[in-house]
């Protein structure tokens, strides 16, 4: 429910929403009316109506093209180019012209034809395609506006815009500096949400509806997920000081993103990225990392056909190596099972899946699929510095078995004359048995999987929220085990990193550096904050002594 308080002069209204782009904004309030049905209009003859629609489409296209010329970034240009291309496609417009032929006016014909196509996108299973419905609505409304001859409401720079939904082309027309958006509908996957995030414009969606008539000023506070109309002096002062702090903190963090990480003592720390299928990389500058520390191939290979398709896998790995441009890329073999099922591959009815057939255990149960993946990896290793990492290793003989299969894959490819290379073979350290006896494994590198390590060390399931307090990543049992693995690796000159969630958590970064880790593999969104935390770390690199 909306809350109303008595403010200085006008009643304050606080409306809750969902944050899709963080930040704090304050400015004049602009509420955009939402128009849907076209007004009924006396129609001219079919030729006149066709001409009106043709002119409206041409004029809308012209506006979009002009907007495209003014937009500097590729995201904005794609959104606008898509609408221009759709308007130029007879497949899109022919239904409207046909409806005019049988008696509709241009407005009705256009609206109905577009609605049908919007509906098809709206029902798509894939979130990306579903979100395109709002781009088509945007295009529909721009042409409708032309037909009606109505100009869009002028919006002052730095405004707080409240609307049901905001078309991306409309978003791009507004000078946001310091302003923000609150939508009563909206989707986190929409183009407008993406644009808001990339331009740092604070945005809420699903905001409670209320009559904002008479309110002239508003603020958006994504710390509390609120749109506040007529905030008044008291709220405003607190807000201003928080906004200033946030700006300083953001600028501070941004500075670190594309620079190599050093501790306050000048020690270099490698920062690698964790990625799912590589799609995250599209928006990132490779300069932000020292390589890729984890590719979760189980999120890339979704069914039996993918698992059997060496060429597809090779192409996908190759693409990531190309992006990395010579930086090392660590690709993990399939880590299915547990909470990540693959139809026809994982075992369905285990009583205790996290202690069952998952990760390498499952791969060794399907040696054909593993051999296919290893061939694809060996081929990709000829493109750049690729490392193969095996999950859930428990006993040394399991890793030996993978090494034999990898050697077999390389021999097979060479016999066929296929270009390939022998990648380094390393392991995840996430099973306590492996962590405690890490010296017995013949691995080229180690990567500590802290999420599973914590759940196995504390005997508390990751999916249970009531056990969260037992899963403190900073407890001595966990840190001692990590320290032991790092100390062994350092003594033997074997590279070691940590790729669990704790590496992306700034509260844990000092502790991880404290136990000697100098390589962290983290979520792309955490790069700035983690490098900032590293830069503030003053501790020395520890020797082999006991921790905590």
């Amino acid at each position: 429910m909306a809350t109303t308080m008595v403010g200085d002069a006008t009643a304050v209204i606080c409306l809750r929403g969902t944050v899709v782009s963080p930040g704090l904004a304050r400015g004049p309030l602009v509420v955009l009316a939402d128009e849907h049905r076209p007004p009924s209009r006396k129609r001219g003859n079919a030729d006149e109506e066709s001409n009106r629609l043709r002119t409206a489409i041409a004029s809308a296209s012209g506006e979009l093209a002009a907007l495209m010329d003014r937009s500097a970034d590729a995201d904005a240009q794609t959104i606008l180019a898509f609408q221009v291309a759709m308007l130029a496609d007879p497949v899109v417009t022919e239904a409207a012209f046909a409806a005019i032929e049988v008696g509709d006016c241009a407005e009705q014909a256009w609206f109905a034809a577009m609605d049908l196509q919007i509906g098809e996108y709206h029902e798509a299973e894939d979130l990306y395609f579903r979100a395109r419905a709002s781009d088509l609505r945007d295009m529909r409304d721009r042409v409708l506006g032309k037909l009606r001859g109505t100009a869009a409401t002028a919006i002052a720079p730095g405004s707080i815009v409240v609307a049901a939904d905001l078309p991306p082309s409309r978003f791009l027309e507004i000078a946001w500096d310091g302003g923000g958006v609150a939508l009563t509908q909206g989707s986190p996957n929409s183009h407008v949400a993406m644009l808001a995030r990339s331009r740092g414009v604070p945005m809420l969606i699903g905001v409670e509806r209320a009559d904002l008539h008479g309110h002239t000023e508003a603020l958006i506070d994504t710390d509390s997920a609120l749109l506040v109309a007529s905030p008044g002096e008291a709220l405003g002062a607190d807000f201003a000081s928080r906004r200033q702090h946030a700006q300083v903190a953001r600028a501070e963090t941004e500075r670190y993103v594309n620079a190599p990480a050093f501790t306050a003592n000048g020690e270099r720390v490698q920062v690698l990225l964790n990625v799912a299928d590589g799609s995250e990389l599209d928006r990132l500058d490779p300069a932000c990392c020292d390589g890729i520390g984890l590719v979760r191939t189980e999120l890339m290979l979704r069914d039996g056909a993918d698992l059997a398709n060496e060429e597809k896998q090779y192409q996908a790995y190759r693409r990531i190596l190309k992006w990395a441009g010579g930086r090392p890329v660590t690709i993990r073999t399939l880590d299915a099972g547990g909470d990540k099922p693959i139809a026809g591959y994982t075992i369905g009815d285990e009583a205790n899946p996290f202690l069952g057939m998952r990760g390498l255990r499952l791969s060794l149960l399907h040696p054909e699929a593993l051999a296919t993946q290893l061939r694809a990896l060996a081929r990709a290793a000829s493109v750049g510095p690729l490392k193969v990492m095996v999950p859930m290793v428990t006993a040394p003989r399991e890793l030996d078995r993978v090494r034999a299969l990898l050697e077999g894959a390389v021999a097979h490819l060479r016999k066929l004359g296929v270009e390939c290379a022998v990648p380094e073979l390393g392991m995840m350290v996430e099973v306590p048995a492996a962590a405690l006896a890490v010296d017995l494994f013949d691995a080229d590198f180690f990567s500590i999987g802290s999420n599973d390590l914590i759940q196995y060390v504390t005997a508390s399931s990751r999916d249970s929220s009531s056990l969260a307090s037992l899963q403190d990543p900073l407890q001595p049992a966990v840190l001692r085990l990590i320290h032991q693995v790092v100390a062994h690796a350092d003594a033997q000159g074997i590279p070691v990193s940590l790729c669990g969630d704790m590496a992306s958590d700034v509260r844990c970064v000092p502790a991880l550096l404290g136990v000697g880790l100098r390589c962290l593999s983290i979520a792309p969104s955490a790069v700035g904050s983690v490098k900032n935390a590293i830069a503030h770390y003053r501790g020395p690199r520890p020797k082999g002594e006991q921790i905590a």
Partner: protein
């Protein structure tokens, strides 16, 4: 949604295929590039997700987007008419290069 290619004996005809490595699938940006390239050729150009169709007009952004092609799908091209060969090989190259030519760099 789809049209069947006409089978006219003497008209030049060509095929090609390519794996869509573009992450996320055939989204707006790659679909725009693909249809723009297809429009460069006089030949009629079709695109499909299977070797024998159903075939979709590769010059229509609306129809190409409606295919909702996922990441790692194999795309098949078929062209008929003048420059059919050039059209199918240029389209396959565009997909194989991950739509890299043009304004794509650094994204």
């Amino acid at each position: 949604m789809t049209s069947e290619p006409l089978k006219v004996g003497s008209v030049p005809r060509a095929h090609s295929r390519a794996v869509l490595t573009h992450v996320g699938g055939l989204h707006a940006r790659p679909a725009i590039k693909l249809t723009q390239l297809a429009k460069h050729f006089g030949a009629t150009v079709w695109i499909a997700l299977a070797e024998h169709g159903p075939w979709t007009d590769a010059k229509s952004i609306a129809r190409v987007m409606a295919m909702k092609t996922p990441h790692m799908a194999t795309l098949f091209f078929l062209a008929e008419g003048e420059g059919a060969d050039q059209a199918t090989s240029a389209l396959a190259r565009l997909v194989e290069s991950d739509f890299a030519d043009g304004d794509d760099h650094g994204r």
